[in-house]
Symmetry: C2
Subunit: 327 residues, 2 copies
Amino acid sequence: MTKGLKQRLIETGAPDLEKIEIALEHHLKPNLELVRQIASHLLFSGGKRLRPLLMIHSARLCGYRQGFEIQFSIIFEYLHAATLLHDDVVDGADIRRGKKAAHTKWSTPKVVLTGDFLLARALDIAAETREPDIIKVIAKITRDMSQGEIDQLSKKGKLDLSEQDYLEIIERKTAVLIQGACQSGAILAKAQKENEAALSRYGFHLGMAFQMADDLLDYTASAEVLGKNPGADMREGKLTLPLIHSLAQASPEDQTWMKEVITASEFKSDQFEQLKEKIIAYKGIDYTRDRAQDHVKKAKACLRGFEDCPSKEFLSLMAEYAIERKV
Amino acid sequence: MTKGLKQRLIETGAPDLEKIEIALEHHLKPNLELVRQIASHLLFSGGKRLRPLLMIHSARLCGYRQGFEIQFSIIFEYLHAATLLHDDVVDGADIRRGKKAAHTKWSTPKVVLTGDFLLARALDIAAETREPDIIKVIAKITRDMSQGEIDQLSKKGKLDLSEQDYLEIIERKTAVLIQGACQSGAILAKAQKENEAALSRYGFHLGMAFQMADDLLDYTASAEVLGKNPGADMREGKLTLPLIHSLAQASPEDQTWMKEVITASEFKSDQFEQLKEKIIAYKGIDYTRDRAQDHVKKAKACLRGFEDCPSKEFLSLMAEYAIERKV
């Protein structure tokens, strides 16, 4: 089933992917080879181009036929990469997509500036759309993401994070960008306001489902598949829904034990296995999967008003893929 | 003379300044007190609001009467502050406007993210202008400034920096932003293309003159007036025009001695005085002042085609002030 889904997604996405890659390379050609190196590290290491594809198919679903959707779609890949670069500086995270984070390989200043440069390229292309509402969307994305990061920074290591706190964090960390990509596609197509709103909501729910699925994988996937150690978020002091839910459900004794493990400066792999067992026992995995599934359902419901077409099928498949994927 | 000039500038600028301050505070009101603190540090410590004032008077000079010029002008103060924050991270500079640089007081991540947040606010307001060409200008500013910083980073400590290298650095570091503020004023006023181009050129020359004057002050002003130690740029390995010109003119012996002083890990204050004497002897100060004066003349020439009005007078006075100021 999963492979079939992935296969169908790849087949639907493939005709555009090559053009996306070309556009991504093309707009990255500054005079500064260094910028290319640092940015390529994130931009050309096997990304799925999820955000560009979402903008492209949102535009087409709303009847856009001017032919610039691919060129404009890379705005959201550049924004994504810029965010990842600044995140790496913020997190001090040392593994990203199985490779060393940029700032451990290069200096913090260069990483910060390359992030700024990518943001500037995104803006450049956004200005070419000549749609002020797309600029508004990008401004909102940038604002929410930086505010969210600042917020998350201040909550790092907090053990009493509520589910509501978590939802706000992942909305700003992940959902606003995916939402913005879908909404911008609709704006580009000069869609009716209700269709723009429907695609914006679709993107929001898809983004929430994606992040929840990501947070699940941090507990359920193997290091080889994940390209980084499972439990990495927790090790960085970031509590995600599987753990938050389990902590809330746990007996006082288990709660105490779990908090000790979480806050320990280091722990052995068998402790992580024991923690996983607790999370499974307290339904942290099931609960998170259910919430992600809710968002997938809501995302698909947002597509109902649109006529059947390949782009609608792509967006629908993408919603299912959000929680079916294994990496 | 200088005091009279400054006084006249203040009188012309004053009616708008209060409104600029209010707008700056207003748009900085997020829920996150922390952001306000870090940003306020740069935004509310006695800045002259040069960039907002330039946009305001450029718009008015082109006949803009819609009344939103002040609200929009703060785009360029936010951009300026965002740049300063990221610069501080890049430079490791520890004194800015006589106060400690933000990142020594707060963590690098917070400073980076606050810079991102300010940039996002600037974009938000820019989107409200609904002028895609203003977005284009902002994209260019962001791109040039980050590229320039990256470039400067790779040239740090280079002793064979040419005058041409220097001109490219200060254009991207300072002139593009001031140029962009002036050009955006013209775009907001829907000025004729030739007037937009004239104000863009005016801003370019003004920016070049300003930066050259800044670089002069680094050698001519006292620590008390400057709010930081003179020679700070050189101590950070940044060669500016007074030194570049003098090095090119110096005898082989003096050149060797000067390079030794510049590259020394630390030097005593009398060595800096001796270096200053060499720079004076080799006309580094005079030459830089002449080049700055050239830019002031060119800036003023760009205003010729416009009818006399208070805004024209303001811009003209500003050009003179660029090199007359003592701090």
